[in-house]
């Protein structure tokens, strides 16, 4: 179902405007000084929201009847399973790009989503904010997120045509990954976060993971780097054999010591 909606919305976006969709800007910086209204109506900078940590950024709008809820529910599900420490290893920022939404809506959405997380979760990790002074529009531009406002005349409803994407930012605000689609694997998200942290805050296991899985930029997925793993395995086996042979040394029992060969 989610895929169906996604495809439909992407289809819509292609039909409607060339601007709608993702125009990836990997490696570019997002302006961390942009201010947003949080779910209490306070104005905070993106820098403060991220708090010097790698961040998962999603762009949505809270009234969305399409893919936004699906995407956020899936993200809640993912973070339930994610074996990184929330609020320490990462932050999540969900930004509404609909400028007319009130902050109370962000608060409601936040309550709903947080309730769906299936384990105790540090709530301060995940911020739901809305733009002020077109900050959400600027943010969307800086990450290459193209959306379009559409008013349906029959119903009088305002909807947005927009892509579904999860963006990973480094602590400095650099865009490090685009994970397309509305359903992610915890593994892909974890890898992206570890990479975003630039290996500095990642635990040792993360380095092993980074070695074994490489990001396939074309398909936007992490793939098992079998060549590296098998190559390492083979090298270790060869080195192991060499060490074994050295340690075993000569097979003494078959031979005689010096001067004892006159039996």
């Amino acid at each position: 179902m989610t895929r169906y909606i996604l495809v439909l919305s992407l289809l819509f976006s292609f039909l409607n405007a060339a601007n709608v969709g993702m125009h990836e800007k990997l490696g570019k910086m997002v302006p961390l000084d942009l201010t947003f209204l949080n779910d209490k109506g306070e104005s905070v900078t993106l820098r403060k929201l991220m708090d010097g940590k790698p961040a998962i950024l999603t762009l949505n709008y809270y009234r969305c009847a399409g893919i936004c809820t699906t995407q956020l529910n899936d993200l809640a599900n993912v973070v339930s399973q994610l074996d990184l420490v929330e609020n320490k290893d990462y932050k999540i920022v969900t930004v509404s790009f609909a400028e007319d939404e009130p902050y109370q809506l962000a608060a409601t959405k936040r309550r709903n989503i947080m309730a769906s997380i299936t384990r105790p979760y540090v709530e301060d990790t995940w911020h739901f904010v809305i733009g002020e002074n077109n900050s959400s529009g600027k943010l969307a531009d800086s990450v290459g997120y193209g959306f379009e406002k559409k008013v349906f005349e029959k119903t009088g409803l305002t909807e947005y045509i927009h892509p579904g994407v999860t963006i990973i930012l480094s602590p400095e605000g650099k865009i490090t990954r685009y994970l397309n689609g509305v359903d992610q694997l915890p593994f892909d998200v974890k890898m992206a976060l570890i990479e975003a942290a630039d290996g500095k805050v990642g635990p040792t296991i993360a380095k092993t993971l980074l070695f074994c899985f490489a990001y396939d930029a074309e398909n936007k997925k992490y793939v098992f780097a079998w060549e590296k793993v098998i190559g390492t395995g083979m090298s270790l086996m060869a080195i192991g054999l060499f060490i074994l042979l050295i340690k075993l040394g000569r097979k003494e029992e078959d031979h005689h010591k010096k001067g004892e060969n006159d039996e």
Binding site: L245, E252, H255, N261
Partner: protein
Amino acid sequence: MSKSYLDAGETHCAIGHPKSVFWQWMLTVDHKRIGLMYAAVIFTFFFVAVFVALTMRIELFAPGAQILDGDTFNQAFTLHGVIMVFLFIIPGVPAVFGNIVMPLMIGAKDVSFPRLNWFTFWLYIFGALIALSSLWTGEGFADTGWTFYAPYSLNTNTNVVTTLVAAFVLGMASILTGLNFLVTIHRLRAPGMDFFKMPLFVWGIYATAWIQLLATPVVGITLILAILEKVFGIGIFDPSKGGDPVLFEHLFWIYSHPAVYLMILPAFGIMSEIIPVFSRREIFGYRTIALSSASIAGIGYLVWGHHLFTSGMSDLAKTVFSFLTFFVAIPTGIKFYDWVATMYKGQIHMNAPMLWALGTMVTFVIGGLTGVTIAMIGPDIHLQDTYYSVAHFHYAMLGGVVFLLFAGLHYWFPLMFGRMYNEKHAKRAFYFNFIGFNILWFPMFIAGWQGMPRRYFDYLPEFQIYHQISFFGALIFITGLIYMFTVLISAIKKGEKVGPNHWNATTLEWHLPTSPPPLENHSKVPYVDFRPYEYHHGEPVVKFNLETMQRID
């Protein structure tokens, strides 16, 4: 009279204790007998491939098709290459002399895993039968060349799959041989013999064993991938299925270039045995020769890309591969200087093995240095796939590895059979071979330089002179080969009987109680507290009582 390993009943068998002499040979686990059987099979294949090559030479005597059409010619050079590479030269020195001589040199009774050794031999025979079966079944023998380059090998209708399976099985045999020798050298050395007291041939076998063990699986995987693609249509190498043909070339040469060092290192080992014995001088720079074997094995892994200079590769990669290739010349050069320095002021005995070794010094230097010219990116663009590279690798492989294999054959012949061949005839045979070889291959450097491409059954008239000179060289060379083998084979039964140490050599394989050696080798396990090539005034320093293996010097 004491018995030798060649006498009936003087063997251990893999299964039971057969009474028939035939089954005693078929089931033998004795390293010396297995080595002899390898020699018989390997040299048979050598002659088959030589006659295929002669057929091609006759075809090339004049432009246009005479006795072979284009397609048959393609199959002929593939057959020649596959037999020479997979059935003859890769097993070559390790399978024959690694088996016969290496355990004797380190004072062991056999290899570490004698039954595995027996199994390996028959695995090799099985692989050879698969390869040959494709000659008479299906659409005939593969016509791809021994390198099986994709995508052609995936699209041709000839029996490529059978040949690939054969190469895979033969590779398996090679891996097992390597493993067996590796463990033997580590575990079964005589007491006191540390790594730097081992004879240099053992060092050559040791370096080779690592290459066999580590590089051969790569070609195994590659051949399996090619089979998967050919049989099931999985797109791995064929670009029309989304594959990458250059990937095949990389994977293929990741094995096949180290395989060249796998061939040459034990052959260099033979050279390092012969030079001190026939110069009656301790070898110059023992450690440098030993370690250069190890470093050739190491660097040899990293140079495969020089086969792909014209296949599409980044300029940086080309430059790196080119320089790495130059580096291989350094340890090789060290060996050559050491050998020359060993001969300096020595008492040089011009026996047949020494003649072969000295001849190789000439031919291999030509083969090696022409290799350096085509390791340079610029000249390689011009010379890739011409007769220049054909001449280069025949000078290096035939004039290096095979000549040294022959040198070893002459050197260890009295050890293997307890008899001596007629040296006068053996020396004459050498000159036939040496002269014929150079007349055969040298014109190809010139033809290749002028643009004669390899693997063509036809050519422009201006190349005719070179092909005709080569043809006469080939006749002389083949005469020499037949002459040489006649001299050696007739000596197996009729040669003059000789004692255990015919050449006044110093290493342990010459200190056996009988000639030829008995089953289980040395009468007692010797203690080795001496260097392998100690001579004083032209006489071996270390002498043993062959019954007790106590030193009596």
